[in-house]
């Protein structure tokens, strides 16, 4: 299988599961596929920095969570009818998905800009610890800030709206998510094949060389980091719409670890890899979870084996080639 066919297979499989769910009248399958698409999208965001840019961010829960809280808070205020902000500008809540997506993207990008400016000055182990620490900071903030439920989280009672569609219908919502996912992957595909992608790929491999031909490595990495944060925040907003609930657990560092696991299970620097990885993870969670309460124990063991012995991930395995990255 060439990488292209492997990608198409993943996309078709992701479409086939909810269709089967509809035919067999098992709507939970549709919800499951939606979950895979959204978690995979968060992974697509991380993949841009981790896979293409070689930056091991262990704090992507921050962007996932901020996207989630944007969706939750805006919807909450729309329902209550009170404004989000009175000062410096009057800002009301909204239940429009489009607006929520845009705000989530901008918030994720700004947060990534802030964290990136500090953390990208370092590399290696420092970078890992710093991205983790900043994500943890926001996690604790959401827990201790009581206005939006604190530790208990914030329910939203209805899915947000889009073009008058019935977003509470599982299949409709899946198709919305799938469409967003395809757009995101197309954009990432375009970016990594553009001039910027060449520079980003080069920065991962040899920053000294990149500097010596007149390209500032910091800027390239920062831009990738910001895009990555924006994508993961968008996924977070969709995740909250799926569950109609947002809580600090989206920001916990386990979430960061899981997003990274999606990328690795799927195969780094492969466009549809995180989707395949998320699908495998959710599949294992369902299958092992039905057999034992302690499924995470087995997932942990499996992950160790995969990292030590099968480094190309699913997409590497399916397309018969190994990823070159260490």
């Amino acid at each position: 299988m060439t990488p292209r066919i492997a990608s198409a297979a993943v996309a078709l499989l992701l479409l086939a599961v909810p269709l089967a769910g509809t035919v067999m009248d098992e709507p939970w399958l549709i919800t499951l596929a939606t979950r895979v698409a959204i978690l995979g999208m968060a992974g697509v965001g991380l993949n841009l920095v981790l896979g293409y840019g070689g930056m091991v961010s262990l704090g992507h829960a921050a962007y996932f969570g901020i996207g989630g809280y944007v969706a939750g808070v805006l919807a909450h205020h729309a329902l209550e009818g009170d404004p989000v902000l009175l000062w410096p500008v009057m800002l009301g809540g909204t239940d429009s998905m489009i607006v929520i997506w845009l705000v989530a993207i901008v918030s994720g990008a700004l947060l990534a800009l802030l964290i990136g400016c500090l953390s990208l000055r370092t590399s290696g182990v420092y970078f890992i610890m710093i991205t983790l620490a900043f994500a943890q900071m926001i996690y604790y903030f959401t827990i201790s800030w009581p206005a939006y439920g604190g530790e208990d989280g914030l329910p939203i009672y209805l899915r947000n709206s889009l073009f008058g569609l019935d977003t509470m219908d599982p299949m409709t919502f899946f198709l919305i998510v799938f469409a967003v996912l395809v757009v995101v992957i197309c954009l990432v595909s375009m970016v990594v094949r553009a001039r910027f992608g060449l520079a980003l790929n080069a920065v991962r491999q040899n920053e000294t060389r990149v500097r010596s031909v007149g390209i500032g490595g910091f800027r390239v990495r920062l831009v990738a980091f910001v895009m990555s944060g924006a994508i993961t925040a968008l996924a977070g907003a969709l995740f909250v719409d799926l569950n109609r609930f947002v809580s600090p657990s989206m920001l916990s560092w386990h979430t960061s670890g899981e997003i990274m696991v999606f990328v690795i299970l799927g195969g780094v620097a492969r466009l549809w890899g995180p989707i395949a990885g998320a699908a495998l993870y959710v599949f294992l969670e369902q299958v092992l979870g039905s057999m034992t309460d302690h499924w995470q124990f087995w997932v942990g063991l499996l992950l160790i084996v995969v990292v030590l012995h099968a480094r190309g991930g699913i997409m590497g395995f399916a397309s018969g080639q190994r990823s070159d990255d260490g």
Partner: protein, 307 residues
């Protein structure tokens, strides 16, 4: 105005917290410095120490046996993990190290839940260390916490001696600067690495048992402490024991004092309820802001080489 004894008590609490953070950070920073390994599962070793202590105490009734068990169990778990897994990771990139040690957390946490169940265990302070001590200035402070501070400082002093004076320490310092060189002069580097890892694990296990007696012993207890230990190391500089000590006490005191002072500070110009909420939220972020500040001016940490 806040009573001085309250402030003094919180300073001591901060110091005690910092000393425990140092025990966690020292092992981590040694493993970073000597083997170049990032170990997310260090928090699991803390948890293992606490559970081993609780289990032995419930069997024998002796806290001191429990404490010994915590050291032994964590050191054994550390040595085992080092010999079976970590050894394969030294030559790999940080990404693989993060993933394998993240997976190890899943295994350890879920395994512990399997054995001990999901409910927290409670460890009692040993009777000989219960009660309070009257400190000058009229402050009654728990004896146990004072002993923790003293024990932590003693361990710190011991570690400094170990690293700067002994043959093992010399090997550790040589390992930091030149792995191939010390392999060439015939030091058994594999045994050295296992020893360093087990030492770090034992310190973490000790911290887990000691703190478990103040709080509770439960699955996942090590992870918040692990992340704080990361903050400590980023502030102090990777591989520096001195940096870990200064960073740990800075983080411990800043966090404790922030939680005390910030709500009071906001109370001077906000409504009490708002002040409590704002102060608490900001206090929970304070050490991370401190880290950001230090990072901005000294990307390599206070005592580190350039990152």
């Amino acid at each position: 105005m806040m009573p001085a004894t309250l402030v003094a008590e919180q300073v001591l609490n901060g110091l005690q917290f910092g000393v425990m953070l140092f025990l966690m950070s020292a092992g981590l920073t040694l493993v970073f410095g000597v083997m170049g390994l990032i170990n997310l599962a260090h928090g699991s070793l803390y948890m293992i120490g606490a559970f081993a202590c609780a289990a032995v105490v419930s069997l024998t009734g002796s806290f001191w046996l429990g404490l010994a068990a915590s050291l032994a169990a964590a050191a054994a778990a550390g040595a085992l993990v080092e010999m079976t897994l970590m050894r394969r990771l030294y030559q790999r990139g940080h990404l693989d190290q993060v993933l394998v040690t993240f997976a190890l957390i899943l295994v350890f946490s879920e395994g512990t839940r399997w054995i001990f169940g999901a409910f927290p265990l409670y460890l009692d302070i040993p009777p000989s260390l219960a009660g309070t001590v009257a400190l000058p200035g009229g402050l009654d402070y728990p004896l146990y916490r004072l002993v923790i501070i003293a024990a932590g400082l003693a361990v710190a002093a011991g570690l400094f001696q170990l690293v700067s004076r002994t043959r093992l320490g010399m090997r550790i310092r040589a390992g930091e600067s030149d792995r191939e060189m010390i392999a060439a002069i015939g030091v058994n580097i594999r045994a050295l690495y296992t020893a360093v890892f087990a030492l770090g694990a034992a310190l973490a296990g000790f911290a887990g048992a000691v703190i478990g007696s103040i709080t509770s012993v439960e699955v996942g207890m090590g992870e918040p402490v692990l992340i704080l230990a990361f903050v400590v190391i980023v502030i102090g500089g990777i591989g520096s024991i001195k940096g870990a000590l200064v960073g740990a006490i800075l983080v411990g005191v800043t966090d404790t004092m922030g939680r005390l002072l910030l709500p009071a500070l906001f109370g001077t110009f906000l409504e009490p309820a708002d002040a409590a909420a704002t102060g608490a939220s900001l206090a929970s972020m304070l050490i991370y802001l401190l880290m950001a500040l230090i990072l901005f001016f000294r990307p390599g940490g206070l005592f580190g080489k350039v990152a």
